[in-house]
């Protein structure tokens, strides 16, 4: 039973301008009576309320810096909310960044194991899935090579194969699929549709507005940390396009 429940979630954090202050800078700034390490207050999310259950497929669209990835990471449990109520039930599989969580010096096979263990698998369960994951990624001999030599597309193939083979109850995908080639994007779309037919929960961030309505039933439009529109994917995408382009959009055949 997968479920994501967010009630009036807000997330604020302070980012220091200079990431880490050395002793010398500290003394110099103190001497000149300047603020030692001034911070910028970031209101990443404000008043987010969402209720998702089994079988929901949510798409998130919005401008760069709207808080889409932050919201996804909050759902995954990486960022704690500053205020509000959050309940996430179900095993989570997330794809946030192509290179996140890969050990560069290890081969593709080893990385399948490490990422599998990271998602809670045991050696026995991952051995059964090893060949299936390798086949889906279509990387063949490249799996014997250290991952540091992979291209971005190869890494995303591997990452997606692992993340979706684990049979998670909740699948969180940040805008990573764009790096794959056309054949892979078709494969990924089919795999995601399979997952959805198994009544799983999926949240997807994408800038590809033509494919998003085919994958997601609902969508939200994020603007400066707030939900500006929520509803059926087609409608929200159309509203967003209208606001950005100022014209009536031509939608691809659904």
């Amino acid at each position: 039973m997968a479920r994501i429940h967010l009630n009036d979630i807000s997330l604020q954090f302070r980012v220091r301008q200079a990431r880490r202050i050395t002793l010398k800078e500290y003394i110099v700034r103190r001497l000149y009576r300047e603020a030692v390490n001034p911070f910028i207050e970031v209101n990443a999310l404000r008043g987010i309320t969402l209720d998702l259950n089994d079988g929901d497929r949510l798409g998130i669209i919005g401008h760069n810096g709207a808080g889409k990835s932050t919201l996804l990471k909050l759902m995954a449990g990486v960022y704690p909310p500053t205020s509000g109520e959050q309940k996430v039930e179900g095993s989570i599989s997330s794809l946030f960044d192509i290179t996140l969580g890969f050990e560069g010096d290890a081969s593709g096979w080893d990385n399948i194991r490490y990422r599998g263990y990271l998602q809670g698998e045991t050696p026995r369960s991952i051995s059964k899935k090893l060949n299936e994951i390798a086949e889906f990624s279509e990387l063949g001999k490249f799996l014997d090579m250290p991952v540091r030599y992979y291209s971005a597309g190869m890494m995303i193939r591997l990452a997606f194969s692992i993340a979706s083979s684990i049979e998670p109850e909740i699948l969180l995908i940040d805008e990573v699929l764009a790096a794959g080639d056309l054949a892979f994007q078709n494969k990924a779309r089919n795999r995601m549709q399979d997952l959805m037919s198994q009544a799983r929960l999926m949240v997807l961030i994408s800038h590809d507005l033509t494919t998003l309505p085919t994958l997601c039933s609902q969508a939200i439009w994020m603007d400066h940390g707030q939900i500006r529109a929520m509803g059926p994917a087609h409608d929200v995408v159309a509203e967003y396009q209208r606001s950005v382009n100022g014209t009536v959009p031509v939608l691809a055949a659904a």
Binding site: T99, L100, G101, F102, Y117, L118, G120
Partner: protein, 264 residues
Amino acid sequence: MLGQLSTIWKFRHFWLSLVVMDLRTRYRRSVLGVGWSLMNPIMMTAVFCVVFSSWLNNPDWRQYGPWFLAGLTLFDFVRSSALSGCTTFFRNESYIRQCPLPLAIYTLRTVLGAAIHYLIALGVVLAAVCVLQPHHISSMLSVLWTLIPSLLLLFMFCWAISIIASFMTVYFQDSQQILEVLFQVFFFLTPIMYSPQMLKDRGLGILLQLNPVCTFFELIRETIITGNIAPIWAYQKAIIVVSVFGAMAIGCIARLERKLIFHL
């Protein structure tokens, strides 16, 4: 806290596989392999025995060599746990940004790697004692079982130090440099090269009391070299040391873990 420990146990395949990978990567391209990590302490022992033997009143190198090596490798274990702990969160940043695992797992990875090196070095010390002092073998073997609780306590101590150092470095960048200097000074204040008696004779016995590493010297080094089981007060002191540092580590985790991601 118990919830964290059970999560850490649940993800044991993850950090165990990373420890194995770290060990393999470290010696992938070298000829001697793990032997390299032993070279440094063995060479230092050889140098000290040969060069400084006259300075330290001509001790018998057959006795002094293993004694010095035992102390040096233990100190190295504590030192490398603390210093590698400093950069743990930065090295594992990609995992921290992806999955909300207990942060203690990442320090466990480095401390376990250092522990394996230490155990290999300890093996060398035991072998040295067997070879250089054959009359001593039976008494040493009879007390070896007492090393198991001592080593467990030492491991927990190093893990606690690693956690404290890792949180410190995120908030104060200079922590790593400061710790390096402190350990240099610490090396000479700890009875590794000289016997604890030399400090007591000069009225500096208080340094021995305050030094947590000395407790583990009593438990591990003296047991191997003298073949006597360590006294009860040494175990009690070790438990106190582990409790104090463990409490500090748990305090760091309880207060700082949630918001750490914002400071990375």
